[in-house]
């Protein structure tokens, strides 16, 4: 019979330990995992990019439900363990008892809340988990909101930078004389402070907190000197304490943390522990690299093999986009210590090495951290540096006066140089993985875990892969949008949001476009992203639109245009038909054609005639059919209950309602819809981007169909009972697509990328999210639900249609 393994804490440490255990001894245990948070395991260190808007929660999940299910792990999320009964070998939760043969404690840390008056007011937050992060994001949504962050260490500064990117007014209150005093010396702290102040963050060093003030909620923070800093939220990031309450009550041996030996076993042989909650050899750690080392050993112990954990050397980086900072080891002054310092004030670069007995024991770098991992390697290996002392500070790239190119610098690294600090991956490990058959960057990441945690070593990892694979190296497809940038579409969208970029030049400047004005592939995409992100605020850039959208007609092979008036739900009238016929006569339009989407197309209109054609059609009550647009095209319908003997619902009426709701919206690609009155499906609703099939009991909504170069059948999204629900569901679906899809991806492509389950979780399962999406769609529609033809007839963009000059009279001499 399998042994029962119970794990308390679904955090980063237990996640990694379970992975190793399943590799080493996949069948040894029946595993039950308890987590106090109502969700599975995510990369906690990526909360900072989530806070700043550079990543979404979904992107930082490391183990999803499917992973646990595939590995047969029973998950009890949202269930906090209250007690460990060692005598009975059970753990106790509000839902009852669970027996164990072996127990892992991985409860992490509790954030420390300074017990000043007012610390319990609503609006005082810690920075530890997703809920804290979401609370901060929510607070930042209020215009002009202010935040005070107490603590100028790694965590506090990441919080401050994230909140500032979200548009909050942020002050940092720090007890010590300079920022990050545990990692940086004064000079580097000064440069960091200057950078943050430059970003609009106020910094108060040597400042102590007297109390949080406020009536019923946070209103400000009072310092010892009486200064009051107004605040809507106060974030306390002043330190963490190992979370040992459970272990302590169970009578396990506790020091500063839960004590473990080299095998990660506690004072009870059946109870193991790892992560931030433990103390090993007198040390307590607050970073992931050590706990990943622990995870390997703990898994071995549980698999019955011998291994030993011997403590970890740690280095730190600050994950604030655009700030390069690296620190490792010990850099305090001392009589037996020497130092080498390099300063380049113009570039904002500072480097300092602390030496003892010809060995580096500490390194601080600001502004240029490229050599960080090399120095860290020298510290860990206690290498004698007397031979290279003269050029040491310039790093491994220095060879005879001129720095080598970055690739050469990476090539010069020894095999045991550490590339990924979080996961302890060396250059040699990456090369071995490649020689073992991992021939893409993704495969190398999956195999070695390099750059999968905090991500600051991504570039370095890529360089090692590129170097080893040589010509075989192809950069992953997610690479740049086009030759003008290395950012992917997804990154650009996120950064537009996070940095509040509101124009194409602002994006190109801030995201360091490589061309001066973009190109014909990135500009239309950027224009769309801005239209979608800032409705009503962003001024459309006509010069970045393809001609069809610029002149609201389709360009044809001979340079003439075609015009399609909207016929709501496919319904027209004798008057409309007469007007169309008159226009065709008046402008000598050669072809009048019924389209595949049940509308009438007038083909062969000269560009200069367009405004007059539109004017006549407008006079007859018709508006643009957007047959040219990356937007809603048509809603095709059948005749439904009005006429058909099979019809179960008013499919035509619903089609008209949908078209009136959706018309004029801009989307990443064209969107076609249809409504059929019964499963006979005469409107061909099952090969549309959104298709509705009416049935006796209501409406089946399908999404992601297509009938173009790829032919796809819709996938079922939801079944609903009323027309109102149909309208809300499809508004939410379209908005989710608008906000997330890459430009020029039809819904089916986008769904293939994000997964239908994810779409459903937003649009179907979560009513609040559905409502919010539908509201955002409606808000945007208040600006875009209008007829572009009428605006042109009224004279907008007239220059498009009139020549600059007429020289037909200038005769040849």
């Amino acid at each position: 019979m399998k042994q029962k393994l119970v794990v308390i804490g679904a955090g980063m440490a237990s996640g990694r330990a379970l992975e190793h255990l399943l590799e080493n001894a996949p069948d040894a245990y029946d595993i039950t995992l308890f987590g106090a948070e109502p969700r599975g395991n995510y990369n906690r260190i990526m909360l900072s990019p989530v806070l700043s808007g550079e990543k979404t929660y979904e992107e930082i999940v490391t183990h999803d439900t499917a992973w646990y299910a595939a590995n047969g792990i029973t998950c009890r999320f949202g269930e906090k363990v209250q007690r460990i009964d060692r005598a009975a070998k059970v753990i106790v939760t509000p839902k009852g008892q669970t027996p164990y043969d072996k127990l892992i404690i991985a409860t992490g840390s509790d954030p420390f809340i300074i017990p000043v008056p007012g610390h319990d007011l609503p609006g005082v937050l810690a920075y530890r988990d997703l809920d804290d992060t979401n609370a901060m994001i929510e607070a930042s949504a209020k215009p002009g909101a202010k935040a005070v962050v107490i603590g100028g260490g790694l965590l506090g500064l990441e919080a401050a930078a994230g909140l500032a990117l979200r548009g909050m007014e942020v002050s940092v209150v720090h007890l010590m004389g300079h920022l990050m005093e545990r990692q940086l010396d004064e000079a580097a702290g000064y440069l960091l402070r200057k950078e943050l102040v430059g970003r609009g963050i106020k910094i108060h060093c040597s400042a102590n907190t007297r109390q949080v003030v406020g009536d019923g909620k946070v209103e400000g923070l009072e310092l010892e000197d009486g200064t009051i800093l107004p605040a809507d939220i106060v974030v306390m990031a002043v330190g963490i304490r190992p979370s040992v309450a459970l272990a302590k009550e169970a009578g396990l041996e506790i020091g500063r943390g839960l004590k473990v030996n080299d095998q990660l076993v506690t004072s009870d042989p059946d109870i193991l522990a790892l992560g931030e909650c433990v103390e090993h050899d007198g040390m307590v750690y607050g970073l992931v690299a050590p706990l990943y080392d622990m995870a390997k050993v703990l898994a071995k112990t549980l698999a019955g093999e011998h291994d030993a954990y011997r403590g970890s050397q740690i280095s730190t980086k600050l994950k604030v986009t655009g700030v390069d900072l690296f620190s490792a080891g010990d850099f305090a002054d001392g009589a037996d210590r020497e130092e080498i310092v390099f300063r380049d004030p113009a570039r904002g670069v500072y480097k300092r090495l602390v030496l003892q007995n010809d060995r580096i024991i500490g390194a601080v770098m600001y502004g240029d951290t490229a050599d960080g991992s090399w120095f860290f390697g020298l510290i860990k290996d206690e290498e004698d540096i007397s031979e290279m002392r003269d050029t040491l500070i310039f790093g491994p790239a220095f060879a005879g006066g001129t720095p080598m190119d970055p690739m050469a610098a990476v090539a010069a690294l020894p095999d045991d140089a550490e590339i990924c600090g979080c996961n302890g991956v060396s250059k040699g490990t990456i090369i071995a993985a490649i020689n073992g058959g991992a021939t893409t960057l993704d495969a190398v990441k999956a195999k070695t875990k390099a750059s999968t945690s905090c991500g600051t070593c991504a570039g370095l990892t890529e360089q090692v892969v590129a170097l080893t694979l040589g010509d075989d190296f192809v950069l992953p497809a997610a690479a740049g949008m086009c030759k003008c940038t290395d950012h992917s579409h997804d990154d650009v969208r996120r950064l537009i949001r996070a940095k509040e970029l509101k124009s194409i030049p602002a994006i190109q400047q801030e995201l360091q476009w490589k061309s001066s004005g973009g190109c014909h592939s990135c500009r239309p995409a950027l224009n769309y992203y801005l239209v979608c992100e800032w409705p009503g605020e962003y001024v459309d850039h006509a010069q970045s639109r393809f001609i069809n959208e610029r002149v609201h007609a389709n360009i044809q092979k001979d340079g003439t245009y075609s015009v399609v008036p909207r016929m709501w739900g496919g319904i027209t009238t004798p008057n409309e038909l007469r007007a169309i016929a008159d226009v065709a006569d008046k402008f000598a339009i050669p072809t009048v054609k019924v389209t595949g989407g049940q509308r009438i197309d007038l083909l062969g209109v000269k560009k200069e005639d367009l405004p007059a054609v539109w004017s006549d059609l407008n006079d007859a009550g018709m508006v643009s059919g957007h047959a040219y647009a990356k937007g809603l095209r048509t809603v095709k319908t059948c005749v439904g209950t009005d006429w058909c003997r099979f019809g179960t619902q008013d499919s035509t009426g619903l089609g008209v309602k949908i078209e009136r709701l959706m018309w004029g919206s801009w989307t990443p690609h064209k969107v076609k819809m249809a409504v059929s009155g019964c499963p006979r499906n005469c409107a061909e609703a099952t090969c549309k981007d959104v298709g509705i099939v009416c049935v006796d009991s209501g409406y089946e909504i399908g999404v992601g169909g297509a009938a173009g170069m790829d032919v796809r059948e819709v996938q079922p999204l939801a079944k609903v009972g009323t027309e109102e629900e149909v309208l809300e569901y499809i508004s939410a679906f379209v908005q989710l697509y608008r906000e997330n899809a890459q430009y020029l991806h039809r819904p089916y492509k986008w769904i293939a990328k994000v997964g239908l389950d994810w779409v459903k979780s937003r649009v179907v399962e979560d009513a609040e999210s559905r409502k919010a999406l539908a509201e955002r769609f409606e808000h945007s529609q208040t600006f875009y639900r209008k007829d572009p033809w009428a605006e042109r007839v009224a004279g907008a963009e007239a220059h498009e249609f009139n020549p600059l000059a007429d020289l037909t009279q200038v005769a040849a001499e």
Partner: protein, 112 residues
């Protein structure tokens, strides 16, 4: 020099846009770049005659709206793998006015 014809103000063309000048021999597209440089080309793509004035302009290039050939505004040559060229005309900007060389225009007419 009376050989130059004033065809309009620089301001009449938006940056990164084009406008047409009608001539007896067909339309000439006058382009204004983001940096306020001005170029004039026949409004016919060397590929299948696409109206270049309707394309998306970037740097000193124009992408034809029909099949995405990229044409250099300064030389009229197709860029990249495509081959072909379109006739260009000397233009200059003086005191905010766009001036076109009438002699080049006349030569082109005579040549047709």
């Amino acid at each position: 020099m009376s050989d130059f014809i004033d065809i309009g103000a620089l301001e009449d063309i938006r940056p990164q846009s084009a406008r047409l000048v009608r001539t007896a021999m067909g339309c000439i597209a006058v382009f204004r770049t983001a940096d306020d440089e001005v170029f004039a080309l026949d409004d016919r793509c060397p590929h299948k005659g696409g109206p270049l004035s309707n394309g998306i302009q970037h740097g000193r290039s124009i992408t034809c709206p029909l099949h995405n050939w990229v044409i250099s505004l300064s030389t009229g040559m197709a860029e990249g793998a495509d081959e072909g060229s379109v006739r260009t005309y000397p233009v200059q900007v003086s005191d905010g006015r766009i001036l076109m060389d009438a002699r080049a225009l006349a030569e082109s007419m005579a040549a047709e």
